[in-house]
Symmetry: C2
Subunit: 745 residues, 2 copies
């Protein structure tokens, strides 16, 4: 019994001591920081989130709307009242809005699409018709086209390979694609590349509608006439104002002519509801679709073309519109030129409660409590910059223009960018720069899940384990580390991470507050508080998580950067790419053998007239050795630095400053000023959105897309480019090590 | 050049010599057999298949119908005209037909189910309303029940585990299940075990309807009011007449009282269309179903219970009905007491063109040409027995009663049973006793696919390769052997294989003539000739395949049995079972750890009230050593026999007869007279239908179901039983070897 008690005491003591440690803090500062975090948690108030959401979602607040401007002013006033230095950064951007939207099926059984979401008595803001942007895709081309319709499944390149085997061309046709399977802008882009002259995108109930659950207002899922608005600008080329790539869209900025803006879609594109899609899909003749293409409408899906023609007429206002970014600063007491930036957008497609206000109000509450604590004596070494971005929905406009506009200053001063973009109930989701992974895991260990009372890290682990397959379970068992996902596109980090090389994180809860009002008039306060996060419990949990992240970065003696975590992750990516090439080689070999042995010819149904696939060029062996050697060098150096990392807190303030500068500038080493192949705006060599997936991230994108698209020389060239990048990065690591290394005596 | 030519000549010569060899034939007999096969192919005539199908499907021909009797007489006359000794074997069996069928949803939005398939002008026999059996499930109980409805997905045991976690009980409720995922009779059986008082089964369009393709009469798929009739007798316990298990249902047979017939369902069961199912499913309240349970009706699926009650009233006529099995014999010239039995059923649920007449007419054409050839001098060593079974649809009645009735004679004389049951366009499918696998592959090498001109084996291989995943492709590459599937339930082999231990094969083409009129009034001549096998090309291909099989078995000098093929297959089963137990052990361990670590409690949505699973008992290590030792012994002996097999054709006629008797009696060694646990009728130790899957075969069923159902002692006991079975089998193999082994001198 005595022995056991002793062990227990020891465990308890160790726990207490551990609990006092925070990465990058000396012991005294850690204790003080944790004390302030306790006060911080205690002062967070869900009622504020509720109140602010009611105001911010009271009317549609898209770019250029009166409520959008009112919201910016409302927030500026709040920040100011909490002691922040505030400004509204204004930009002038191209933001098209619809003048004409017509879609009709001609012929014997004509149908005129409704293209409207009706107001509901159960949703008090849904009837604000005159203020709402109707369903449309921003940056669609103007166009008045009449043609036969073809169903292209998700509208990604693989779908067109399948269509080609069926002998179906979309040349001169209008295509109809299901939402999902790629970012929406990929669909018209690929359709255009294949010769289509118009594109419709609809939400199939299999993905987004009654199949998942009861539809609104009975349940949270997309009703028959609900439509997903959204941008179709070619953001994988560059985001932000199409007329001012690479520079801020200030009033007097030099602008491209609209016809030279390559990110504007070349054909008219329109999103429609599944109710409007049904008669169009029913008009399709031709072959029955492959099994994997089926949706859940009560019909047999055919690829087309349609017997009757479809008429699509879209005309837009192509005015410049003002953007209102809210910027609120709290200057650092010791290191005012090191900035921790925290942002969420404030514009919505319509009333936008979940997207984006649920994240915005969490950020506001963070800023409020930090401001209150500062008044009570809480000191922040570094400068905090709270941002409320405008124009995220059309094209990450506000964040991109601000980042472009302030690029020189940001390159010098920005330590990290912490993003959120809407929030829901459930499990923490986190993506970002892998140098920040151990740091973020400490945060996840410190925040308690409001529904279960365990840490958000424990709950995430439970969910991962329960939902994993056998192999993944075996791999994960006992390892609770939250692996940060890599960031592609989808929210406001792109300007910071991929254009400027600023370490970034994206945070949010989700998984339990599921629904289907994304980018619709029904994403409202009524919807959010009934179905998504009633009581704003997870709004407060996000405030706790992102607030800790911001405050710890602001106050760390030594910035909480872990090179080994970065190195291990990139090494995994390299090994993935080698496997990818090896698998493609083996599959190409097998596939070509099957083709040459005529097995496809023999296996196919002669009555169906589907063509056998064509042989593909063999996959060469790529030379990864330069990259692998650089990765090995990085490994040694990263490990050495991490061993000595704790020394950093003991350095003189000057040396610490020197060290910290290296630590936050290191992400800049991952930028190659020439950018990625065919899209020079994207300069980060580790993370980028996929050229043909959009949201979907491509890690080591120059190499990966070279392999995936079978551009072997490009892949090889990019291996060398990434190898050089890693070499430069490693030199930074060595520099950091030289600062923390005890001098030889 | 000369060298190359020489090699070519050699290859050519070898090919010619090989082409002349047939397993079990000496050289001269092989040559003669192949010559006759050429004549056989040449005389097969698709027009006959067409003519006979027109007659046989001209009216509904279910058990007890005038057309059923007329068909039997028609075929007896045909067989007789071709020179066969014919008889109609008559039995008296319990065959319930509906008197009352009522299904209605009560309450505020009442709905009375139509329960009818309308006649169509495009289908000339579909309007024969007065002669049709309406949609029903044979051997449902009588019952008049009113209760709330619960949706149970496929209605298999795993679904009830899921329902239990959701807190839903079916006690005192009527359940509605989707067709598919198990044999239909499993659904009411498991529902009854869980306390349900009624069961509805419907065809969801996701599985069987518009999702797969255009519906009848536009296309071949099931229309909104199409219904799948079918038996729900508990055939995994025993098939055949429920009143006469194990004996022939002759006029004077001793019969059970109906209440003691355990294979009759205990609750009322009714199959319905998806049109009738829709309002019932819409009436369900409660939780939304798990994603894997969703169908493709345009609704959100809920588990229930329904707000309003459902009223189901089913009353049946429980009369005995006559069965008419057609038996046509052609006595062997040398070995009249060795029988090769070839069968297909002739009864249909309604007009039954695809099921079963498409297979029946192929068999008739085989018999016709064989009869013609015999008249021209073709000699058959063994006796051919062509059968046309009645009453397969309700419960394999005709074949089972005949096999039970003639069990002693069959045990002595039956060499093999070759079954077919409907036929379609595409690829050869073959299942059966693994001693026959190399023999069957020789046949598949000799039959030419009518659409592509390659052998049916080449085409099967092409299809397998094209449709396989990466791992399966790698495993199969270059190996064109057609692996026989193991036989569970589903057609007329059960009485022969699983009750009597007679080596069996089941043959048929399919994969391209897909449709959805299974067990409906629309499975008609019009449907078949438009969509399934227009021109009867594959009907003729089936005649070629099954005809060769029958004729070679009839004429082989030494029966074409391969013990090594059997041994390898069973060794694979043993190794599967060890892996199954190991995987269950590992999964139970992981699952229990997740439960005990409260990961399920933490991962679940507290707002949904789903319960975490309960821990399961640990999986013990089973002792497979006795079985493995017996398998090793079998391997050695099987290999030795196969090395000496070719000697057999050189033996004296007496010795050959002795050898052949061992070779066809050997399958009897796999019978254990005590039968399987809880179902003594099934005596085969290697193949059985699954107790909870029905059609789905369970190989080494005593062991496998013991493991799957976590009856560890039963599993261990059955390992010993199978080990003993293999020991007896090996002794037979040794006996065969001793006959072909050159005597020591």
């Amino acid at each position: 019994m005595r022995r056991l008690q002793f062990v227990l005491v020891l465990v308890l003591a160790t726990t207490i001591i551990n609990a006092q440690k925070i990465m990058g803090f000396n012991e005294a500062n850690a204790k003080s920081q944790l004390d302030w975090e306790k006060q911080y948690d205690a002062q967070l108030n869900a009622k504020n989130l509720d109140t602010w959401m009611q105001f911010l979602t009271s009317h549609p607040h898209h770019v250029g709307s009166p409520q959008g401007k009112a919201n910016a002013e409302y927030m500026v006033n709040l920040f100011r009242s909490w002691g922040y230095q505030t400004e509204i950064a204004e930009y002038q951007v191209l933001f098209p809005t619809p003048k004409t939207r017509t879609l009709e099926l001609l012929g014997a059984k004509p149908y005129k699409a409704k293209l409207e979401e009706p107001g509901l008595k159960e949703d008090k803001t849904s009837g604000q018709k005159s203020e709402q942007l109707p369903p449309y895709n921003a940056y669609s081309a103007d166009g008045d086209v009449t043609a036969e319709l073809v169903f292209v499944n998700r509208g990604i390149p693989a779908d067109y390979e399948e269509l080609e085997r069926m002998g179906i061309s979309v040349k001169g046709k209008i295509v109809i694609a299901k939402y999902g399977g790629s970012w929406r802008g990929i669909k018209p882009k690929v359709a255009y590349e294949h010769g289509a002259i118009g594109c419709l995108i609809y939400s199939d109930p299999a993905d987004d509608g009654y199949s998942a659950g009861d539809v609104y207002p009975e349940g949270p899922y997309r009703p028959k006439d609900g439509v997903q608005r959204g941008s179709v600008m070619d953001m994988p080329v560059y985001p932000g104002d199409p007329l001012t790539p690479g520079i801020g869209a200030t009033k007097d900025a030099k602008r491209l002519d609209r016809k030279d803006a390559i990110t504007i879609m070349k054909i008219p594109v329109l999103p429609i509801s599944y109710e409007d899609a049904l008669p169009l899909l029913q008009s399709l003749g031709g072959a029955v679709v492959p099994a994997a293409w089926r949706g859940n409408l009560p019909i047999t899906y055919h690829v087309g073309p349609s017997k009757d023609k479809v008429h699509l007429n879209l005309q837009f206002n192509w005015d410049l519109k003002p953007l209102y970014d809210v910027i609120a600063k709290l200057p650092g007491t010791e290191l005012p030129d090191e900035w921790i930036i925290r942002g969420n957008h404030h514009d919505g497609w319509v009333n936008g409660a979940e997207d984006p206000i649920s994240g915005m109000v969490a950020e506001l509450e963070e800023a409020r409590v930090v401001g209150e604590m500062v008044k009570k004596g809480f000191k922040l070494k570094r400068t905090l910059v709270y941002c409320a971005w405008d124009g995220e929905e059309p094209a990450l406009l506000g964040s991109t223009e601000w980042a472009e506009d302030h690029q020189e200053e940001l390159k010098k001063k920005a330590v990290a960018y912490i993003n959120s973009d809407g929030n829901s109930r459930g499990f923490i989701g986190a993506g970002g720069s892998h140098t920040l992974e151990p740091f973020f895991n400490e945060i996840a260990d410190a925040v308690i899940d409001p529904q279960t009372g365990v840490t958000i890290k424990e709950r995430r682990y439970a969910s991962n384990m329960v939902n994993a397959d056998k192999a993944a379970r075996a791999k994960m068992m006992g390892n609770k580390n939250i692996k940060l996902s890599a960031l592609g596109a989808g929210s406001d980090w792109s300007g910071f991470l991929q254009f400027l090389g600023i370490a970034s994180l994206n945070l949010g809860f989700g998984g339990e507050g599921n629904g289907g009002q994304y980018h619709s008039i029904y994403d409202s306060y009524d919807y959010f508080t009934r179905f998504i996060d009633p009581g704003f419990q997870y709004g407060v949990a996000l405030s706790k998580t992102a607030g800790r992240t911001t405050m710890r970065l602001a106050n760390a003696d030594v910035l909480p950067i872990d090179f080994s975590s970065f190195q291990k992750t990139v090494a995994d990516y390299v090994s993935e790419l080698k496997t990818l090439a090896d698998n493609m080689r083996a599959e190409t070999e097998t596939e070509n053998r099957l083709i040459n042995d005529k097995l496809y010819d023999l296996a196919k149904d002669p009555k169906k007239g589907v063509q056998s696939p064509k042989p593909k060029d063999v996959v060469p062996y790529l030379n990864f050795s330069d990259l692998e050697n650089q990765m090995a060098e990085l490994k040694t150096n990263a490990e050495e630095f991490q061993k000595l990392y704790a020394n950093g807190t003991q350095l003189s303030p000057e040396k610490r400053k020197e060290l910290n500068t290296v630590l936050f500038q290191v992400e800049r080493a991952l930028i190659n000023e020439k950018g990625l192949p065919r899209r020079s705006w994207y300069k980060h060599q580790i993370y980028a959105p996929g050229f043909y997936t959009g949201y979907g991230v491509k890690t080591l994108p120059g190499i990966r897309e070279g392999i995936e698209e079978r551009h072997w020389k490009e892949a090889q060239d990019n291996i060398e480019i990434v190898a050089k990048t890693i070499e430069v990065y490693t030199n930074e690591v060595k520099q950091a090590t030289s600062i923390v290394k005890p001098k030889a005596f």
